[in-house]
């Protein structure tokens, strides 16, 4: 093989690799990326219906319920404006607590309950997942604006 042909081969292979990779990447992205959806958006019915997505918020105080002795657990998440009921059958993470910011992966069922397949809490009690922090800050700002309007 001459160096020229060699280079053509190299470029051709690299090009083919890149094209294949791009196509597969885009296709797989479609299927596998999970959007983070605000709880308020979910409550207003703007959540994707037939696919998994992420929600995040604070676990409402005294909302964690379970039949004694059973794994299945129900709790309520809030973005301080709207609430969302979450159902989960599994072991909650170590740092799952009421009042704590958490993230859940799953989908909505017919009754508007979020059925989670994963619940995440970071290994640091002061940690707030950035999405949750943003979502809370947004609603805090809306509230502040609303209060300001009322006072006028």
């Amino acid at each position: 093989m001459t160096p020229r042909k060699q280079r053509m081969l190299a470029v051709g292979l690299a090009g083919a690799g890149v094209v294949i990779a791009t196509v597969l990447t885009l296709r797989a992205f479609e299927e596998n990326m999970m959007f983070f959806v605000d709880i308020s958006e979910v409550v207003q019915g703007n959540a994707p219906a037939d696919r998994n997505f992420r929600v995040g918020g604070l676990v409402v105080q005294n909302s964690v319920e379970r039949e004694p002795g059973q794994l299945e657990v129900k709790f309520t998440l809030t973005d301080t404006k709207n609430n969302l009921d979450v159902y989960y059958a599994g072991i909650l993470p170590d740092l799952f607590r009421e009042g704590q910011g958490i993230i859940a992966h799953g989908r909505l069922d017919a009754n508007g309950v979020f059925v989670a397949d994963t619940v995440l809490a970071k290994h640091d009690e002061n940690y707030m997942p950035p999405e949750v922090a943003d979502s809370l800050a947004k609603h805090a700002a809306e509230k502040a604006a609303a209060t300001a309007v009322n006072q006028e």
Binding site: M1, T2, P3, K5, Q6, L9, A10, L13, A14, G17, V18, I20, A21, L24, T25, A28, F29, E31, N32, M33, M34, F35, F36, R54, R66, P68, G69, Q70, L71, A89, G90, I91, L92, D94, L95, H105, K122, H123, D124, E125, P129, P130, E131
Partner: protein, 655 residues
């Protein structure tokens, strides 16, 4: 006083690093031997002062000097001494100091073992390493000084994150960083070659052992991290495709490509500019890794520091280093022309394919890691890309690579005739197909497409990697035995085979079951009976724990007992799961204790993990292969003897 000495030592180290960076490079440019001679003493001096600084910080930890902010934030009087030492690199500032220390050690090692190299060349290499060190020292001193005082000193510290109080994670950062930082040597060799415009096969021969050493440390470091995540994060996963994991994995992939491309450059004088580009890429990805982990811009289960100012500094540093290196590359690489050619069926072709596939994999991991960030900046939405995507995206380029490994290993340089090759590979192919069907089909009772292909790939790599060794053992008397470099290659590829089998089997046949258990109850999972015999409270040095006692039986026969704990660390009040793991060569039984469910019931996670040990053993075997290859005598030839041996070491040598 001790912390001030440490701080001062860091400043002196910076001054020496500037000398080490500027003077030898200028000297090499001017041909001034006196200036070039500064390189080694400056590097040794820098190392000495960095050791002093590192020692001062370690001392502050051991003395529990909480007037040092960093110590107060990450230590506690009750912390065992081992973890006081490992707490030095338990967070951002200290891990930077560790990075600098390791860089200084690598530099002195390069100085020590490069005496046989042309003076101007080694001066440039050490100079470039000095400049990298200047960047990191400035970063530490300006944004992340570990010696900052805290007045008044608190009576006790905030304790080390309980997750980090573990022998696995005490060792993980130093080993991983040794690998990361090691790629700076390959980078410096590349820059030095581009400055001098002289890149020949001896350049590749000098670079190879250094790259292999860095790569083997990185391999062990990543394996340690994965092992730690498996038993310490508590839920039995061994790889999460988390940004921080990806950050260490991308340099590994690029480094693996570099090792293979260097082989071609050394043996055949080909792929020169590509090799340079890979050397730059591997180091850039190491820097990017630091950026990703330390800036806190990505959501991750492992990152412990968030600070935008630091992120900005690293970004600027990254821009200068990568931009400068690529600029130099664009300017110089076209002049590095190679004349030799090769046939489509030759080892060169397979190494080229290896590089293409590894770089595709690296790119995919990079895209998956950065896409959420880019999409958020573009306001498209907040997304996360989960393990399933990475699983698919990574398997697509890697599966063909596994089959190519076996062929490439047995293909000659330059040109290979097809008939003898296919005759040679018939036996391993038969073995791989039979074993790859029997293992999942007979022992696990299920033959999925992916699992069967994965097992065949694993056995294919294993059997093709063993062949050259067997051939060497059965060689006719008087013929040379397998070289260390070739043996290292076989061993490393054998490790790849073990790893592949481990990943395939554990992904396909793991069983996981969350249960509610009361004391005295027996539940069945994965063919084993788990009996919760009791629960009791135990006290550790700085934690309290609830400990379960679980007997495991199979068909009524006692297999073992596990004592998983649910720990609460007293200072930070963090709960932590300490899983119980029953290890055997072909499966782990993994039990983690969850929360109280009321009425005396506890949630328990039971897992059966077949072949999971193969994953880490495979990594260790890969690293061992690297060790064998790097110790090949060929890499220790001096400049003088090289001239003599040049003929036989030339491109004609089969490997």
């Amino acid at each position: 006083m001790i912390p001030e000495i440490g701080h001062f030592a860091l400043i002196v180290a910076l001054a020496l690093a500037i000398c080490q960076g500027a003077m030898p490079l200028f000297g090499a440019h001017r041909g001034d031997r006196a200036l070039m001679a500064v390189a080694r003493p400056a590097a040794i001096g820098q190392l000495a002062f960095v050791i002093v600084a590192f020692g001062c910080l370690t001392w502050s930890f051991l003395q529990s000097d909480f007037s040092v902010l960093y110590v107060a934030n990450h230590s506690h009087r009750a912390l065992p001494d081992l973890y006081k030492v490992s707490a030095v690199w338990g967070a951002h500032e200290g891990s930077l100091l560790l990075w600098i220390l390791l860089l200084a050690i690598w530099t002195v090692a390069v100085g020590r073992y490069s005496r046989e190299l042309p003076e101007a060349f080694s001066a440039r290499v050490i100079g470039v390493l000095g400049l990298v060190s200047v960047g990191f020292l400035l970063f530490t001193l300006l944004t992340s000084n570990p010696f900052t005082r805290l007045m008044p000193a608190p009576p006790d510290g905030a304790d080390l994150n309980p997750l980090l109080q573990d022998p696995g994670l005490a060792m993980h950062p130093p080993v991983l960083y040794t690998g990361y930082v090691g790629f700076s040597v390959a980078f410096a060799f590349a820059i030095a070659a581009m400055i001098s415009g002289n890149l020949d096969q001896s350049w590749a021969r000098w670079t190879r052992p250094w790259t292999t050493w860095a790569w083997l440390f990185l391999t062990v470091g990543i394996a340690l991290g994965s092992w730690w995540a498996y038993y310490e994060l508590g839920w039995g996963g061994w790889w999460f495709w988390d940004p921080v994991e990806n950050a260490s994995f991308m340099p590994w992939l690029a480094g693996t490509a570099l090792i293979h491309s260097l082989a071609v450059t050394e043996k055949r004088g080909l792929f020169k500019s590509w090799t340079l580009l890979l050397a730059i890429t591997a180091f850039s990805l190491s820097l990017l890794g630091t950026f990703l982990v330390r800036s806190g811009i990505l959501v991750s289960v492992h990152s412990f520091a968030t600070d935008p100012e630091r992120g900005l500094f690293i970004l600027a540093f990254l821009g200068i280093t990568i931009g400068g290196a690529l600029g130099l590359y664009a300017w110089r690489a076209p002049s590095l022309d190679s004349k030799a050619g090769f046939r489509p069926l030759s080892r060169e072709t397979f190494l080229l394919l290896n590089n293409v596939l590894l770089i595709v994999a690296t790119t995919l991991v990079l895209i998956g890691t950065l896409a959420p960030l880019v999409l958020e900046v573009l306001q498209v939405g907040k997304i996360s890309i989960g393990p399933p995507w990475f699983g698919i995206a990574f398997t697509i380029p890697m599966l063909p690579l596994l089959f190519l490994i076996g062929i490439g290993m047995h293909t000659a340089w330059r040109q290979q005739a097809l008939a003898p090759l296919s005759k040679q590979l018939r036996l391993p192919a038969v073995i791989a197909i039979i074993a790859g069907i029997v293992l999942p089909g007979v022992f696990y009772g299920r033959l999925g497409l992916l699992v069967t292909v994965g097992c065949i790939a694993g056995f294919w790599v294993l059997s093709t990697a063993v062949m050259p060794v067997i051939r060497s053992l059965r060689r006719p008397a008087g013929t040379p035995r397998i070289t260390r470099a070739a043996l290292g290659m076989c061993v490393a590829h054998f490790g790849v085979g073990l790893f592949t089998l481990g990943v395939t089997i554990v992904s396909a046949f793991s069983i996981e079951s969350d249960r509610s258990m009361v004391v005295g109850q027996t539940v069945e999972a994965a063919g084993y009976e788990f009996e919760l015999r009791g629960l009791r409270n135990v006290d550790g040095p700085n934690f309290r724990a609830l400990e379960g006692e679980i007997d495991i039986r199979k068909n009524g026969e006692f297999v073992g007992q596990l004592r998983p704990q649910e720990r609460t660390y007293i200072v930070q009040q963090n709960p932590m799961t300490e899983a119980g793991i029953l290890v055997s060569w072909n499966r782990d039984l993994f039990v983690a204790l969850g929360d109280s469910l009321g009425q005396g019931a506890w949630s328990v996670r039971l897992q059966y993990k077949p072949f999971i040990r193969f994953i880490w053993v495979g990594c260790l075997v890969m690293a061992l292969g690297g060790l064998i290859a790097a110790s090949d005598r060929r890499y220790r030839v001096s400049v003088r003897s090289e001239a003599r041996e040049g003929v036989e070491l030339g491109p004609e040598e089969p490997a």
